[in-house]
Amino acid sequence: MKRRQLYVIETKGLREAKGSILITEGVPGARFDEVVEVVLASGEPKLGRVIEVAEDFSVIQVFGGVGDIDLGGCRVRFKGETLKLPVSSDMLGRIFNGRGEPIDGGPKIIPEDYLDINGEPINPAAREPPSEFIETGISAIDGLNSLVRGQKLPIFSGAGLPHNRVVAQIIRQAAVRGEGEGFAVVFGAVGVSYDDAAFFMRSLEETGGLERTVAFINTASDPTIERIVTPRLALSAAEFLAWREGLQALVILADMTNYCEALRELSAMREEVPGRRGYPGYMYTDLATMYERAGRISGRKGSVTIMPVLTMPDDDITHPIPDLTGYITEGQLVLSRGLERKGIYPPMDVFLSLSRMMKEGIGPGKTREDHRGVFMQLYAAYSEGNYLREISTIVGTESLTERDRIYLKFADEFERRFISQGEFERRDIETTLDIAWDLFSMLPEGDLKLIPEEFIEKYHPAHGGRRRVAAEAH
């Protein structure tokens, strides 16, 4: 399938090298965005990509940096095609480095096809709106910010918060839900520490999920510029599995903050006009071209769900990285340092978290008929309780009314029993909703304005609704 050109254009005319940028003399026939091989004097090849061509020069971005490039002794070979990933269904269970080369000691992939790592945009008219609920078994997600197939939902975290454990729990629990062979995880590690990468691989292995996983690992010690391609490789692999093999692919990209840093570095080397905080003005578009690869296509079986993880510099949600990401993704799950300090796991900040695709994925036939009302009422009551917390820190609880004190207690109980759960505890959606009804029984029934009356009669413990003893959180 791979189109090989009959001759390879080669030049020895190198003009300038700095950082990861190499400038050559004009090369007739050089194509914009094509792959090049920079062959060092020792014969060792390095991968690169053309980022600008003109009659009298071309600019090449070299993966792995230009540190050992000798302007006199190197050759640059233009390969005549854009960067492609060899793909095959044998990729499942394999581990690759950030450039797509196997690092697990196994054989090379025998490709069924070569895919352009930038993918092709899905025609908006061919998309199928995401609407299938993914049960993660985590109440704070399933109950309040439900994830659906084909969605892109990032985790906004901070340094030192347990995002890796949350992600591992999601992979573990979402994977076992009766999907069997239809499920695949593609893990793209972008500039993560060796320990973090090892943690993920180990937890996948423990749950027996490794044979359904493809991993691309660029660790913190690997070249920065390589980080530009690692997530794109992961997405190309996911697209292959979803659109050709009909699998439900979940792509985890961690930590995308490192990707954005690499993009900034590259932009600075190219001497581009910087945008906010030095990040290039096109960062929105650049991230969007990756995250938009999530989705479903009408008439095809598979799906691509993307869950990027990023650490917010200084926990600042208005920092350009989380800010631009939030504008692209369909919501966000935000981890809170405050809840973490209170010892609550997962420390999910339910106010800042949001799943935009939720409304399509919940309700009768998908989760349960009372889900929408319950979720709105939980938000309303918890937000009331939080507002009162704020007031009571100033005026004390004495000057609050009886009703107010009930809401204060509700907020505490909500965090302790609903949000908080064990790292290996998997709650089905019924359990999650029943815990909510248990909590509602603390409140005056007349306050449950957001839930249709028929559901109050059916599910409220006071009405002898089908109360199941919900598993108490630890």
């Binding site: 009659e55 899905i122 084909g150 581009e272 929105y284 071209t289 000057s399």
Partner: protein, 577 residues
């Protein structure tokens, strides 16, 4: 014909382009990618390419077309989904599968479909630009009026009889031999002419209480919805495109999410227009240029949309155009500006940001159309703005605020509390309040403006009281203020909060007015009870408070009779204890 000299991202510089014009459309390279000339110097042209430029080579051909970027206007627009260059996305999907390929061409209008044309002129009639020469029932909701293109005039030599024709066949011939077809082309960057401009005077009924009642938009007006991520910009715009009482709606998804676009498309097939019960798709046009589609086409998508809006306005229709999001277009300008090494203005945006934005918003308006018969049409524009970090001081928001007359400011705190629509009543405004007062008086009731102002005043008082509550606690307030807080809360939760997904999704102005009257009647009653010694705590616990809270669930059609029951309860007098 020229040759590529340099490629840098979406910008191509070509040699040998003498004789070309600025804004001329060109085809670049082997794949004939579409581009537009944005700069000329000697025989060297700077071209922005609307498609991904990967694989272009120095020396590749560049072909001029001699034409600027045009929109094709005619029957078949309604119900279509276009990309920013007016390629029909549904036919691309049918021909090429689910992924978009580069360099493919797709005609905007269906060439085979025959439309039933009914002539309105006869041989020997003198016609000029804007005259309606016939009509086509394009969808059950839209009668497409076939007009003489604005710059054409003459005497009708021949007109085809009533019958079915394609857009490529002529329907009339003028004395100069000029054939008139049902479709014609118009440059997207050139505003379509009209006879005269009129002041806005009618309410654009949106079905959203915070807009219709509190901050009304007028037909022919222009407004902006800025908000940080997750504050509900897209849902607000979707609601507008769904329920606005107009003849034609145009929805531009510019640099936004594909899944959302799919969701919107699906819902428009399922949802029914409230008055006629027909599928909403029969009055909508979609332009989808999602964030992973080429950046340069974002600008084209905005101007393509407004040109289509003007075209339907010229037929004498009220058209609403919503653009989500203008910030993505502004970012595209910044990216292109950066590649051209222009001197950047504020935050890297080009210095002409403001004038570009106004060249779009200023094409809104209510006008007397060109030609016979006499008609009045309007284009209302509402654009979303996505300020980085929800900071409204950034250049796109500020430049937009200088142009628009209505601001619907989305508040992060409200969204976090799940108060939707999260339009802040403290910082939004509309300069159309006086313009539409007469509309309310004639169509709903005389006391609209008075009640609106009273409600806003209560909300303002609430904001001030809450400052005090933060210091001394709610119990320390006098009873009078506690009642104000209760009423303000009812206005917020029982009136302003409106779900996009229940029966409350479209609220008629009549229902909105009766709801507000109910809350105000309760306020008056509660004040009298308080004078008689009742405590706010007791009033708050009355069953009628819960009944008022649920009144939004009553459908529009039966609202008037059902609300009577609540009023009867209020009239009979409420008894404490």
């Amino acid at each position: 014909m020229g040759r590529i000299w340099k490629v840098s991202g979406p910008i191509v510089v070509a040699d040998g382009m003498r004789g070309s014009r600025i804004h001329e459309v060109v085809e670049v390279g082997e794949q004939r990618l579409l581009g537009e000339i944005i700069g000329l110097e000697g025989d060297r042209a700077t071209i922005q390419v609307y498609e991904d430029t990967s694989g272009l080579r120095v020396g590749d051909e560049v072909l001029g077309s001699g034409k600027p970027l045009v929109a094709e206007l005619g029957p078949g627009l309604i119900g279509s989904i276009y990309d920013g260059l007016q390629k029909a996305l549904i036919s691309l999907k049918e021909d090429l599968g689910p992924f978009l390929k580069r360099g493919v061409k797709a005609k905007a209008l269906n060439r085979e479909r025959r439309w039933h044309f009914v002539p309105r002129v006869k041989r020997g009639d003198f016609v000029k630009g804007g005259d309606v020469i016939g009509v086509v029932q394009e969808t059950p909701l839209v009668e497409h009026r076939i007009m003489i293109p604005p710059d054409v005039r003459g005497t009708v030599r021949e007109v085809r009889g009533e019958g079915d024709y394609t857009v490529d066949e002529y329907v009339a011939i003028l004395d100069g031999g000029q054939e008139i077809r049902m479709a014609h082309e118009w440059p997207v960057r050139r505003p379509r002419p009209y006879a005269s401009r009129l002041d806005p005077s009618n309410l654009l009924v949106t079905g959203m209480r915070i807009m219709d009642y509190m901050f009304p938009m007028a037909l022919g007006g222009k407004g902006a919805i800025p908000g940080g991520f997750g504050t509900g910009k897209t849902v607000a715009l979707q609601q507008l495109a769904r329920w606005a009482q107009t003849h034609v709606n145009i929805y531009i998804g510019c640099g936004e999410r594909g899944n959302e676009m799919a969701d919107v498309l699906k819902s428009f097939l399922e949802l029914k227009e409230p008055k006629t019960g027909r599928p909403l798709m029969e009055k909508e046009i979609f332009i989808a240029n999602t964030s992973n589609m080429p950046v340069v086409a974002r600008e084209a998508s905005v101007f393509l949309g407004i040109t289509m809006a003007e075209y339907f306005r010229d037929m004498g229709y009220d058209v609403l155009l919503v653009a989500d999001s203008t910030s993505r277009w502004a970012e595209a300008m910044r990216e292109i500006g950066g590649r051209l090494e222009e001197m950047p203005g504020e935050e890297g945006f080009p210095a002409y940001l403001g004038s570009s934005l106004s060249s779009f918003y200023e094409r809104s308006g209510r006008v007397r159309c060109l030609g016979n018969p006499e008609r009045i049409g309007s284009v209302t524009v509402v654009g979303a703005v996505s300020p980085p970090g929800a900071d409204f001081s950034e250049p796109v928001t500020q430049n937009t605020l200088r142009i628009v007359e209505a601001l619907y400011s989305l508040d992060v705190a409200l969204a976090n509390r799940r108060h939707f629509p999260a339009i802040s009543w403290l910082s939004s405004y509309s300069l159309y309040v006086d313009d539409v007062e007469e509309w309310w008086r004639a169509n709903v009731g005389p006391e609209w403006k008075e009640m609106r102002n009273r409600a806003l005043k209560i909300l303002q008082e609430e904001a001030e009281l809450q400052e005090i509550v933060r210091l001394v606690g709610p119990e320390a307030l006098p009873e009078r203020d506690k009642l104000t807080l209760l009423i303000a809360r009812m206005i917020r939760e029982d009136f302003l909060m409106q779900s996009a997904y229940t029966v409350d999704t479209y609220c008629s102005p009549k229902k909105a007015h009766l709801m507000m009257r109910t809350i105000m009647a309760f306020y008056d009653k509660a004040q009298r009870m308080m004078e008689a010694g009742a405590q706010v705590r007791e009033i708050q616990g009355l069953p009628i408070v819960a009944r008022i809270a649920r009144m939004k669930e009553i459908p529009n059609e039966v609202f008037e009779e059902r609300i009577e029951e609540i009023w009867a309860e209020l009239e009979e007098g409420l008894v404490i204890g």
